[in-house]
Symmetry: C2
Subunit: 807 residues, 2 copies
């Protein structure tokens, strides 16, 4: 039966995009404020688009080079089709498009939010959250649309029934990996470049403006003010958006690859069939993603407040309500879909345990684990970085003895925060794998990512509110406007910290799912770190996040220094700037940040992309797996450490605004303790906004590059086209005993081969099955001979044993 | 033929110890200085011994608990004998004894060095280096003596020829692991406790003395001065000594375990024999260690200067000469020993490649790699932490814009320094493994550690010179005395940084060798991180060093605060203290540091020891392997990062003493930039002296605990005593074809079993061998049946194939 299930996510994605257009035009219809507000908003928008423009030019170069490289791969490797180039370019284009749409709406919504705040807080929330919704739906809608459209086309192209379903589907999914690689490449540029941009502008504006010239933040006389506001959009809107777009696509892709593997595992019992064109486990993650878009739309309707006098808790509650409704709806729908689309029990291969029967309910529980761990990691993140909690208070207390003790305390908080996060994360891996293998891990990640649209709407609303405050300040609006935008901004700060926890948790689970997909793609038996080359690469991988962080931190320093010099120059050379009679040259500062960001991200970007390729080509598939694991383990640790230390320092500094009690004495802004806290915050800035969040991209992109080059490394490639032959043969029943044989033959080169022959014998009357796996290596001739012998033995089984006994 | 080779290391160790006594009595015969100097020296000695005394009391509790735990293990597990308790206690005792001897001589040598410096720099060097030599030879001599003595006894006890050589030797080596565990436990107390002690005293003395009261460093009016000087001995002499004692013993032990594995591998071709009681590969590392002691003694004779006007370079050159002579002699001797004691070619099993013929020269090249990498990592460490080099100058430059930029620059230097160190380290693993398997890795570590006596003599000489300067200052000796001790101290600072590089490199290689020994002990097939539980534990392991560092840093902060309060109290309550008419209560400060250090090290110590036990018992052998790998990868990274960042900050601060040029302006002590650099140094202090060096112990102890509990986890344990049966059978020759079969049977529980049957077929006329490995899992009955079938098939080989063809 032809199934039309593939159209479901496509339609849901289109619904999401239509709703996005409705919301977009609604936001644009709102009053844009007076001329000054419009002019400031326009400057921010132009700066942001200038950054995007410059980024696109650099991207074009990158995309062309990468496309050529992919073309070469597709020529060298039978199982990689040139169409991967199209998928790659489309992935890059869709991600860039989503970022562009989000950035445009965010920079339009800021002045409109400020204007709405003149009369009503509920309206201001509606406008700013509306802007966030556009971003969220744009990202999720384009991701699901791109994936389902390409998957539809690739299945038509490649899954023709000429070869085995598994190998044809592998080719289709490998091409689809190009889409994910394209998306993640944009994320690299947006997240790392954006991170450098925003901190260079921020530090530059603060050092000269606040410290040297003594003018307040967001003061229109500061030439770097616009760049600073652009930075919020570039880093927190476009950067976060591209990061989650990448995670979203990669998670769904990895789950699809592992779904294909489930089908392969089940084919040991004969060809797999279901009423979804025999690809239920592959389609499931895509459909869940589509349903998540719909659930998110419903959730957005619930984000509203009615009281004009509302404070932070009410606003937070409105956001939480929307978020939880979206999550619960997704969970309910997932339950139905899992029951509907998956066989009641599946046979999955577990390393070292052989084939295990897994119920579809286990897959659902895996999804629940994903959602629970995502939520709990957010809670842990909030604990370590929130105002008034012990970790932040510890840093505050240690500020009284100077900057050094403040720094030590902040570092210790960041380091300690890894404990619970990693335990949760390890529990998620262990739990979801135990329930449903790596398919379970991928589904856990998919469930977590399903409500990305809602999550991103909440994330993007923060910077819009922050910018609205900036517009209000620069346009010298009445103070109650700023008070209202401050309420929204304050809630936005909390959601930003939680969002970072969500982003790293999702990136880590995504990386794991990709890692699992990589192992199945290469056809290796696992990644054994007791092999010295694998262990060596585990160490090298562990080092990469450390170096990447160091480079990112240094980049911020360098770029900020350039900004400082430019601002100083303008203060000196433009007469009347301090009196407000002359306009500073905002564009020059924007330009400096843009150029510095793009220039500085080239080296870390190249390290990320080229290192796995070099290691894969020189050492092979398994050491590259060790490298990927090293990057993930170390990357997760450094991400949590840097994000949370930075967040905690930031709030320790903020604590002084309301005054804090240290050893029985109240300390306020301007005290020595506050100065120490400012030093800590300055150290933490690149941690939390540049190097920390960059880790997400580093670990995902590393695994994705591995996945894309997997066909070159694994047994797929060969002369004679016989690289890897997997035959599922000989299902015999004799004396009620069932015997199944699976032969995996890998030709290493002209002379040598390696094969694995697995037989599973289920004794008559049930009972524990006996699994034997024979690994043979030697000359091709000898190995083929031995396989024949083993197959003979299997088909004539019990004869050997009986014959032996008679002797 | 009975070989007496085992007595060679024993005799060499005794020679080392005799020479130590000679040197010790020579040092003691030197003039101890005037009454005041003697009194100060006595206070330091008493403080140091007070710390040791308190440590021993805590240790006694620990040793009793651990001995009981080991007793329980030995009762539960057939292959673990209760004698492991004796080995454990002896290991703890020898390590403590070595530390005690070293600490006593160091605290006697300080005043004598100052006295000698009154007249002659060459003599001052001779005395201080003499003290170091006593420490070095005490550690190395006791280590080699303990290991060879116990090994001799255990071989007599267990290797009786009743069971297979491999399994009997495994029991002997498992008992020997107790000695290593005892030694490393002391190292935990000495290194972590000592690290907390020294920094608490240092920070406490500085904060109140230098900053609040404005009196110089080492001023006798400061109540914490003695504690500060005691700290140098506790941390840098006893801590470093115990650390290297532990590494030394563990490395040799791991190499012996892997030597046993080499013998097992070679037994596939029939029983292994050589003229060293058939245990050449096991004895080799022990003999090399013995020879290293002799080479170190010869090296110490070359450490001398003749010119009284010599400066740092000449002193450094004298140390370098002695060091290199010791290394070269060891290398030459190793070449001869390897050629003499190992078979010309060995058959070693490489994962995934089967059995490979390895020449004994490969083992020698592995040893060369170990020495080369040890030296190169020291060079890298020196580059990142030395005065006048780019990394330190970068930090200096960034001090001009305040503490925040100084901190960021220092963090970046530490992070970047991981790059070359890790690449070198990965190259060492890869190179030595490729040459000679994990035996090669262990021999690389052994070669690096062979000159531990010399290395430690150089390391311990620094703190003695530093203390001599303190004694000179406190006794108000003439300034030329201090100038001379300062020359020695300055050289000591450089050797300390390099020594830290050596310590972490050796700890890392040791951990790897232990890790390899662990895998062979448990009998698992490797550590596959594609299994979810293993991967989850890899993450958990990666988190432990981060948490450990955070706890250690916090401990320093807490202990320093207590010290600050006590010093403040004494200044306030003891009249005449500032005028020098009343003596401060030094002992109270010593007591505070002692108690705080011991109290604060309990939690990190427990985490280190208990976590691997819990993981091993709950999840099993392979996940514990993943945990160990996680701790090693992350631990090495954090050790290098923290050590080098701390060292670089320290020297960035010191740069200001001679004056530095920043942006064309000279900056000196007391400038704002210098203050920023002081902040950096304060952050770096716990990094480089507490948490950084603690990582060494953490990674070694983790692997060692794993090794000791391996028998509980692996296939050794079982009812029926049939846990792991390894039979090496059926060597048949038919039609010139040679066939060998190796059966490994593991009984999992009453019902289930797992077996591996390996056959190696060498075709007639040579050519590539065909190796097949069949892994069978299922009910015990079925597995045994299948093994019989496979054996039948092997003995009657070609019949099945021929028969099949006829059908």
């Amino acid at each position: 039966m032809e199934s039309n299930m593939i159209f479901v996510p496509m339609v849901l994605a289109i619904v999401g995009l239509l709703f996005m257009f409705v919301k977009m035009s609604w936001v644009k219809k709102q009053a844009p404020g007076d001329e000054r507000m419009q002019s400031i908003s326009k400057s921010i928008k132009e700066g942001a688009l200038a950054f995007l423009g410059a980024e696109y030019r650099l991207l074009l170069v990158f995309v062309v080079i990468a496309a050529i490289a992919l073309g070469i791969i597709s020529m060298l490797v039978d199982t990689t089709h040139w169409i991967i180039i199209v998928a790659f370019v489309l992935g890059a284009f869709f991600s860039a498009l989503a970022g562009n749409v989000g950035m445009r709406i965010a920079t339009e919504a800021n002045a409109r939010t400020a204007e709405a705040a003149k009369t009503s807080l509920p309206n201001a929330l509606k406008v700013s959250f509306g802007g966030g919704t556009v971003m969220g739906l744009g990202v999720a809608g384009l991701a699901v649309l791109g994936l389902s459209l390409l998957f539809f086309i690739f299945v038509k192209m490649f899954v023709t029934g000429e070869a085995s379903f598994y190998s044809e589907m592998t080719i289709a999914l490998e091409a689809l990996a190009g889409f994910s690689l394209g998306a993640e490449s944009i994320a690299l540029f947006a997240r790392v470049g954006g991170g450098i941009y925003t901190k260079a502008a921020d530090v530059g504006a603060d050092l000269v403006g606040k410290v040297e010239a003594g003018i307040p933040e967001d003061d229109p006389r500061n030439p770097a003010t616009i760049a600073d506001n652009v930075g919020d959009n570039v880093g927190d809107v476009a950067g976060m958006g591209a990061d989650l777009f990448g995670s979203y696509v990669a998670t769904v892709l990895a789950a699809m690859v592992l779904g294909n593997y489930v089908i392969k595992d089940m084919s040991v019992n004969g060809p797999f069939t279901d009423s979804f064109n025999n690809m239920g486990p592959i389609l499931l993650p895509l459909v869940i993603a589509g349903v998540g878009v719909l659930a998110s739309i419903i959730g957005t309707f619930l984000v509203k407040i009615s009281n004009n006098e509302a404070k932070e808790p009410q606003v937070q509650k409105a956001l939480d309500t929307g978020n939880w409704i979206a999550i619960v709806l997704t969970l309910i729908a997932s339950f139905g879909l899992i029951k509907y689309m998956l066989p009641e029990t599946m046979s999955m291969k577990f390393f070292g345990e052989g084939y295990v029967e897994v119920s579809s309910m286990n897959v659902f529980w895996s999804a629940c684990i994903g959602l629970a761990v995502g939520a709990l990691i957010s809670v842990v993140t909030a604990h370590y970085t929130s105002l008034g909690k012990k970790p932040v208070l510890d840093i505050v207390k240690n500020s009284s003895t100077g900057a050094a003790t403040n720094i030590i305390a902040g570092l210790a908080v960041g380091m300690k925060s890894t404990f619970l996060s990693v335990i949760l994360f390890a529990a998620a891996i262990y739990g979801s794998y135990t329930l449903a293998g790596f398919y379970g891990v991928a589904l856990a990640a998919s469930a977590m990512m399903a409500t990305t649209a809602m999550q991103l709407a909440i994330d993007a609303f923060g910077p819009i509110a922050d910018n609205a405050g900036g517009v209000a300040e620069m346009s010298e609006l009445e103070s109650h406007v700023r008070e209202r935008t401050d309420i929204l901004d304050s809630v936005g700060n909390t959601t930003a910290a939680v969002g970072k926890g969500f982003a790293i948790a999702s990136a880590a689970l995504t990386a794991l799912a990709l890692f699992a997909a990589y192992v199945t793609f290469t056809g290796i038996d696992g990644i054994n770190i007791f092999k010295a080359d694998v262990l060596a690469m585990l160490f090298v991988g562990g080092m990469i996040p450390v170096i990447f962080s160091a480079l990112a931190m240094q980049s911020v320093g360098k770029a900020a220094m350039e900004m400082v010099k430019e601002v100083r120059r303008q203060f000196k050379e433009i007469p009347g700037i301090m009196e407000g009679t002359a306009t500073p040259e905002y564009a020059k500062c924007v330009d400096i940040s843009t150029k510095a960001a793009l220039r500085e991200m080239i080296v870390p970007g190249l390290i990320t992309i080229i290192t796995p390729i070099i290691i894969g080509l020189i050492f092979g598939a398994e050491p590259l797996g060790g490298y990927m694991a090293g990057v993930c383990v170390s990357g997760v640790m450094w991400a949590i450490f840097q994000n949370n230390a930075g967040g905690a320092w930031d709030n320790a500094k903020k604590s002084f605004e309301a005054g804090v009690e240290i050893d029985g004495k109240m300390e306020y802004k301007g005290s020595d303790a506050h100065k120490a806290a400012v030093t800590g915050d300055t150290v933490g800035d690149p941690f939390k906004d540049t190097s920390g969040p960059s880790m997400n991209i580093l670990i995902k992109l590393t695994c994705l590059v591995g996945l894309v080059i997997a066909p070159i490394l694994g047994g797929h490639s060969t002369e004679e086209g016989m690289a890897q032959l997997t035959t599922e043969e000989v299902v015999e029943v004799k004396n009620d005993e069932i015997k199944k044989v699976l032969v995996d033959l890998k030709v290493i080169n002209e002379d040598m081969a390696k094969a694995s022959v697995k037989t599973k014998t289920i004794p008559s009357g049930g009972g524990e099955p006996v699994i034997t796996e024979t690994v043979i290596s030697g000359t091709k001739e000898e190995v083929l001979k031995k396989i024949d012998e083993l197959k003979e033995e299997a088909t004539s089984f019990h004869q050997t044993g009986d014959a032996a006994k008679k002797q």
